[in-house]
């Protein structure tokens, strides 16, 4: 059993053998992975030690204090939060050995090829086809809302391998090489002016069967691991008080008394309370995870933050009065990260509109809460026993 003292000892060993001051960032991260200190709850040999997840903080704190570089987790969030847990659960030994190390060090960026123009909330209706040809699969189709596609080395991909069976049964999960000549990435400009996401066109992309994750036709089940982790990642950020969207508007309120009105004051206080309570709920969820009793609250966190971000940023634009009529920059930028605080209120207002759409619309999430948490009856289904090729579209 790996306990706190043991982790501290191993961390000290790593720091002694690879002093951050004299070791290159990439070399240090590789050494950290090989020492099992990357994600301690992963198995030995795959960057972990099979230790409790809650002990990761011990390692992180020690390394931070020693000035060690980190793997810039926000930049590789899709790899860490979605691809890695799926590979760990469904990958072959060979796949785990090949992909997890460069994924964790950030050497190889990952993206996610799931959503399609015709398959949003009804993701299982996706139409990108993968046809078996010998030892490979030939993939044709279009994916959309792919962040990091333009910098990614690999993608997790779900495609239809059998159109003759009901939609959930005919999907297979693959790892797609983004450098394949059949992969074309086009920026997708959004209402903020920037192009944070991409459209990805797949034309006769050849994927060796060795890059399949899970069984043929089992892709929907495999994808659940990815999607559950996505929602945890979106809803699960730790925040200090006023750490979210409520921060900038509170700051403006304090610094610019001339903007204050009674109406705005009432609304601001109400949102401040809601933001603080949402923060506490997130903290409570993390405490539950730490003691190993994960609650269903995670599904709610994303819903709560989507609505709050939208209402708070809307209030902020209004508070600014004449300045609220302005926008900082409509240039089509290609940001690698969403940065809510680095831009003006108008940007926050527009970008947060996506919070109730990305990673599951709020409407779908409410259904999930109602059905899986409260146990209410599911919607009547007309597509359950119909072959995918016969569905209305």
């Amino acid at each position: 059993m790996t306990d706190e003292a043991e982790l501290k000892r191993r961390t000290a060993e790593l720091l002694a053998a690879h002093p951050p001051a004299t070791t290159g960032r990439g070399d240090f991260l590789k050494a950290r992975f090989d020492a099992g200190l990357a994600w301690v709850h992963y198995p030995e040999g795959l960057g972990g030690l099979g230790a409790p997840r809650s002990l990761q903080a011990v390692v992180d704190t020690e390394l931070e204090a020693a000035g060690a570089p980190d793997n810039d987790p926000r930049r590789i969030g899709i790899g860490l939060g979605m691809a890695a847990p799926t590979i760990l659960r469904y990958g072959t030994e060979e796949q785990k050995q090949q992909y997890l190390r460069p994924l964790w060090t950030g050497e190889e960026v990952w993206c996610q090829l799931f959503s399609e123009p015709g398959a949003g909330s009804d993701l299982a209706a996706l139409g990108t086809r993968a046809v078996r040809e010998g030892d490979a699969w030939v993939v044709n189709g279009q994916k959309v809302w792919t962040s990091s596609a333009h910098v990614a080395r690999w993608a997790i991909l779900i495609a239809r391998t059998d159109p003759g069976v009901p939609k959930h049964a005919g999907i297979t999960y693959f790892i797609c090489d983004m450098t394949d000549p059949g992969v074309e990435v086009r920026p997708l400009r959004q209402i903020t002016g920037e192009a944070e996401f991409n459209e990805v066109f797949l034309t006769d992309v050849r994927i060796p069967d060795s890059r399949r994750l899970g069984e043929v036709g089992d892709g929907w089940r495999v994808a659940q691991t990815t999607l559950n982790n996505e929602r945890v990642a979106i809803g699960g950020m730790r925040l200090p008080r006023e750490g979210g969207m409520i921060g900038p508007v509170s700051k403006t309120w304090r610094e610019r008394p001339e903007l204050r009105t009674h109406d705005l004051h009432q609304r601001l206080l109400k949102l401040w309370v809601e933001a603080e309570v949402a923060r506490l709920t997130g903290e409570r969820l993390r405490q539950q995870l730490t003691v190993g009793q994960p609650g269903p609250e995670g599904a709610g966190m994303k819903l709560a933050f989507a609505r709050l971000n939208q209402e708070i940023s809307g209030l902020e634009v209004e508070l600014l009065g004449e300045e609220g009529l302005l926008y900082d920059d409509w240039t089509m930028r290609r940001p690698e990260l969403v940065d809510f605080t680095g831009r003006d209120a108008g940007y926050r207002y527009l970008r947060s509109k996506g919070n109730s759409i990305e990673g599951g619309t709020s409407e779908v999430l409410l259904n999930i809460v109602a059905e899986r948490v409260l146990g209410l009856p599911s919607e009547p289904r007309t597509d359950k026993d119909v072959a995918w090729k016969d569905l209305a579209r």
Binding site: P257, K270, A304, L366, L374
Partner: protein, 362 residues
Amino acid sequence: MTDLLYTEEEEALRAAVRDLLTDHCDAPGVIARTESGTPHDPQLWKSLSVGMGLAGLLVPEAQGGQGATHREVAVVLEELGRAVAPVPYLTSAVVATEALLACDGEEAARLLTALASGRTVGALAVSLATAPGAPFKAVRHEGGALHGELTGIAEAVAADVLLVPAEDGALYAVDADAVTVTAQVSLDLTRPVAKVTFDGAPARLVTSDAPTAVRRALRAGAGLLASEQLGLADWTLTETVRYLKERKQFNRPVGGFQALKHRLAQLWLEVVNTRAAARNAADALAHGSEDADVSIAVAQAYAAPVAVHAAEEALQLHAGIGMTWEHPVHLYLKRAKADSIAYGTAGAHREALAGLVDLQAP
């Protein structure tokens, strides 16, 4: 970091209180009692206080209490809220007890021990509608006796002793049989308020600093009321979900209609949030945290409207049956609405926050 979870001991306490309430506090009984001469339930109170020792949770062991904290009290209040139990727990074991804990001297010590035992029920004679720190009415103290009238005193009918603020700035103890307590017809059937008339009632000095004692009492009352509100909201949600799975119209359970599912999911979110806010306030009170004032104001500003919303949704989603006297949902609506005024409205607590977190009014 604040512990927002429940300990094993707290869960065991919850189970014990819930068992007792399941056996001795059913809805038809509570409804019938509301129109009887004793709207509170003396037998249930005896079981909770004398039987289980819960009236003394906040009182140190040396003074005859259990030496527990606000965290355990909060769990008891959640369960009492779930059952809309007609017992003077919040008013005696929390609010009156907290007032006494702020006081030195023999009279306060004697009363504290008496309240902790549960054999004496206390009530702070300050209107239930008073927010912590807000001004409150006082009566005239003259020649060792009190003269005047106070209204909106919760559970005064059940009280054996009243803690009464006087115009001289002191807090006095007065025996209930030395005053006239007139029940006011109350919105909340399970926590009625009363008018108390003092006509030369003999008074014993508890402290010369009533404002400090009252403030401490109302602060704890407001912070822990959030746990009662959590209990109310939790019961109304659970019961509504249960009913909508069972109730069929248009040849299907009405709980399968998306318009209703979304409303219930939304309510669930609010209950989840309320739990975090209520645990945070209880923990802050238990540890005397520097952040306690913010935690209490946040909890009350959030939980009060949630409890009302949950009860209102429960009534609407139960529809016709929810509008009847026979179905208990009205008890929850009435309690939740009265609770939204008790110890300061959500608006009053938001105003307090404006000062506490420096978001000043124009």
